[in-house]
């Protein structure tokens, strides 16, 4: 036990004396959560639009007022002719142009039909889509007000209710993802680097010649990162509660247990990586390419798994992060208990056992 404490103390010296690892450990989680929380967002706010109004009558003025009154859009400029549309888009600031046809009011009254064309800059397809939906919504609203007196006999009225994230805040989606990435990064990458570092330096050999048993060496190397990962998880949860007002609906205890489970599976992956790589650089490359990319792309963190091609959907099943994200989304947003996520938990447990078994086996082979 005393040996173990000495070992851990040494490990902390390594961590605290290396600015790079300190930054990855503590700077990164905070920077990432802030970035994802504030900067990266699917919502639109104050998007610049231009208006090409061919009729300039009472109705179009009302519509334009409605649009400029919404917090989503601000009217950047009025243009006079069709050929200007291209020019404003090329300047880049304006993301959409509303093209209102000639004699709008007249058409509306006479033919009960008038047209507004919404032209969006689709270099960013998501934003373009959102803009056109929002403009549509404003127009429909206006139309309803016009037709207030008239009752239509048959009408389907969809009533939408967004549950678990009624305000559709993107931070709700990012927090579980960022937490997964950070835990993966700290646990898997940092441990694999710190173990391969000892191999590179030749100190691993010295440790193996010492009376310490190989598993004590590995546990000693890994333990500080379990501790630091848990701190990171706590910091992320606190930031999301207090800064982004994201509620944790479910049990914090369950959240903690599941996080520890995920941390252990990531650590096992880290050990596995360290057994197959000879240098710190290789370990880092394997961690980044082999772990981080799949976590970002295939875990359902940013891109929904259900809209992926089938082969990718199948591959996504072997990524522990996918299951962890399902679990923590369930706990944080839906407030579910273990009865709803036992299947995912079991998969994660099985994966963890598999990774630990594999790394023990690999480690023994290496010792030969």
């Amino acid at each position: 036990m005393k040996r173990f404490i000495g070992f851990i103390k040494k490990e902390f010296y390594h961590i605290f004396r290396d600015r790079r690892s300190l930054f990855i450990l503590f700077g990164m989680p905070i920077a990432q959560i802030m970035l994802f929380g504030f900067a990266i967002t699917n919502e639109i706010n104050n998007v610049d639009i231009a208006i090409l109004d061919h009729s300039k009558d009472v109705t179009t003025e009302e519509i334009i007022n409605k649009i400029s009154a919404s917090k989503y859009f601000s009217i950047n400029q009025f243009i006079e002719k069709e050929s200007d549309i291209e020019t404003v888009f090329k300047k880049g600031k304006v993301k959409a142009v509303l093209n209102i046809e000639k004699d709008f009011s007249k058409n509306l009254i006479k033919e009960h039909k008038a047209t507004i064309q919404i032209i969006t800059d689709a270099t960013d397809p998501n934003t373009a889509n959102t803009i056109s939906n929002y403009v549509n919504a404003i127009l429909i609203q206006y139309q309803k007000e016009l037709n207030k007196e008239i009752t239509i006999t048959y009408q389907t009225v969809p009533q939408t209710r967004m549950v678990y994230n009624p305000a559709l805040k993107s931070v709700y989606m990012f927090v579980p993802g960022v937490m997964t990435i950070i835990l993966m990064l700290v646990s898997a990458m940092m441990t694999s680097i710190s173990i391969t570092r000892e191999k590179e330096l030749g100190t691993m050999e010295i440790l193996l010649v010492s009376p310490l048993k190989p598993f004590q060496v590995i546990v000693g190397k890994v333990f500080p990162y379990i501790f630091l990962s848990i701190i990171n998880a706590v910091v992320i949860v606190l930031l999301s509660i207090f800064i982004f007002k994201m509620p944790v609906q479910g049990s914090l205890f369950l959240l903690a247990l599941e996080s520890i489970l995920f941390i252990i599976s990531a650590l096992a992956l880290g050990i596995l990586i360290s057994t197959i790589s000879a240098t710190q650089q290789t370990a880092m490359m394997i961690s980044l390419m082999g772990l981080m990319l799949p976590v970002i792309l295939l875990s359902g963190f940013i891109f929904p798994i259900s809209s992926m091609p089938l082969p990718l959907q199948i591959i996504s099943n072997i990524i522990p992060a996918k299951w962890f994200i399902i679990i923590i989304k369930g706990i944080m947003l839906k407030g579910v208990g273990i009865q709803f996520i036992w299947k995912e938990t079991l998969i994660l447990v099985a994966m963890t056992i598999f990774f630990i078994g594999l790394s023990v086996k690999k480690y023994k082979i290496r010792l030969e």
């Binding site: 070992f7 103390k9 040494k10 010296y13 390594h14 004396r17 330096l201 010295i206 010649v209 010492s210």
Partner: protein
């Protein structure tokens, strides 16, 4: 221990697939002896040494180190030996004192003993001024000497040195060998591999490995007489060219 031998090896063999890295070597090392383990690169020195220090399992043969069998009691061997590898292997980002404390700790020394030991070591090596400096900042010669002292921190019966003087200047090499003699005089057996043939002259006995086999084993004086040459370099060349 019978016959005062601290290392007793008989027909020790290591195969990697079809390749025989170490081919049935047999030798013994007496207590307090400085035993030189010579051979060209790839001759199998390091592999043989790794089997003796318990980090590589022999394929066949017998070996007894410090009274323990390498097959069955590798863990007991580890407590009785010290090891210094080719690569400088202290932690650059720990201070001199922290390194000593750490290695003392993993060898299970008590806190009091570590304190005594580190005071003695630091004084012997003249490192008082840099005791609280990071090891990374020390010149290579100092690091090497510190590394040797650290490998002896638990007063092992045998210390294994794998090319300990690689890349250090002649003065430091000289000082290093003085440290080795001192350790041997105090009863520690020294098992040392080296490339420098002048260092082979300092050993009590040397063995020369060629292609996994021990081709010669005797005192430097006898070897020179046997091969009718006047320095170890020529002995080595004669054998290696075989």
């Amino acid at each position: 221990m019978k016959n005062n031998n601290v290392i007793q090896v008989e027909g020790l063999t290591k195969m990697f697939g079809d390749f025989t890295a170490v081919n049935a070597i047999t030798f013994e090392v007496k207590k307090g002896e400085i035993f030189g383990f010579l051979g060209a690169n790839g001759a199998g020195k390091t592999t043989a040494m790794k089997m003796l220090i318990g980090i590589s399992n022999p394929t066949s043969g017998k070996a007894n180190v410090a009274g323990f069998d390498v097959f069955t009691h590798a863990e007991d061997i580890k407590k009785s030996i010290g090891y210094m590898s080719q690569k400088f292997a202290l932690y650059d980002d720990l201070t001199v004192k922290e390194n000593i404390t750490f290695f003392g700790g993993i060898y299970g020394l008590s806190r009091k003993r570590i304190k005594e030991k580190s005071a003695i070591l630091i004084e012997e090596l003249g490192l008082e001024k840099v005791a609280n400096k990071l090891v990374g900042a020390l010149p290579l010669g100092w690091k090497q000497k510190l590394s040797f002292s650290v490998s002896m921190i638990h007063d092992p019966k045998i210390v294994f040195l794998d090319e300990p003087t690689g890349g250090v200047d002649p003065i430091t090499r000289r000082q290093f060998w003085e440290m080795i003699y001192k350790a041997a005089n105090q009863g520690t057996t020294v098992f040392v591999t080296t490339h420098y043939m002048d260092e082979a002259e300092y050993c009590d006995r040397v063995s020369i490995m060629v292609n996994g086999k021990i081709e010669a084993l005797d005192t430097p004086k006898q070897l020179k007489a046997k091969f009718e040459v006047d320095n170890m370099n020529d002995v080595f060349l004669k054998l290696a060219r075989g």
